[in-house]
Symmetry: C2
Subunit: 139 residues, 2 copies
């Protein structure tokens, strides 16, 4: 693997959204998705131009789940290599504040999962390393 | 500690800059610095408006060290709480490409350190947890 690829980087922000029972929200990608069809992931996405990372994350979570969340703290980082770009993921812990859960068209299923369940879920590959070293919050 | 502080977040990007011998660059903050005087840190800083995280990091490293680097991959994330803001740090591994090393006025000393040396260095507190879980690249 080349270490100093000249592919541009893109920043994506992702949220581990926790409910009041301490379960974390996972979303299932559509079987028709171009990348990682049928795999599970966390809500979030890329920044719009001139958008700050926290604004982008609140917007993406709202678009993908209908939920308003507040950001708690940083959880970690991850990376994936696509044909044209390398995506760096900044992953934040978040808490549900309000809103009615509703899936967007991007996803076909969801689960509120315990840490043990998350580690057994078929996540998109870029989050494996992160999730296995991540210290889930104690309750 | 409040979990859902309403302080705004700020994104800062930091680089673990490696030389050809696999040593990593540390910079010592001035004894007159407002925050963390005399502590050691990694080059980097905040994004300018509308600047991407990778552009910001290349610029900050150049300003603080005179060096041109290429970004290798994501290393991790960290966070610190200041009176008015919470700073989230996205930390990337980088390699020196060219340039003549030169300290800026922000720093008073530097070292090219091994992983063992870094773990014994008086780093600014926000990087402790990161550096103790970070897997240094094997050579």
């Amino acid at each position: 693997m080349r270490r100093a690829s000249h592919k541009p980087f893109t920043l994506s922000v992702k949220a581990l959204v926790y409910d009041k029972k301490g379960r974390c929200l996972l979303l299932k990608r559509s079987n028709q998705a171009r990348a990682n069809p049928g795999k599970w992931e966390f809500p979030g996405g890329k920044l719009d131009p001139a958008e700050s990372f926290d604004q982008a994350l609140l917007r993406e979570v709202r678009e993908e789940t209908g939920l308003t969340v507040s950001l708690r703290k940083v959880a970690g980082a991850a990376e994936s290599e696509l044909p044209e770009t390398r995506v760096v993921y900044l992953i934040m812990e978040a808490d549900v504040v309000s809103g009615e859960f509703k899936l967007s068209e991007e996803h076909t299923d969801f689960q509120w999962a315990s840490s043990a369940q998350i580690r057994q879920t078929d996540l998109t590959g870029q989050f494996y390393e992160f999730i296995h070293s991540y210290q889930f919050p104690s309750r």
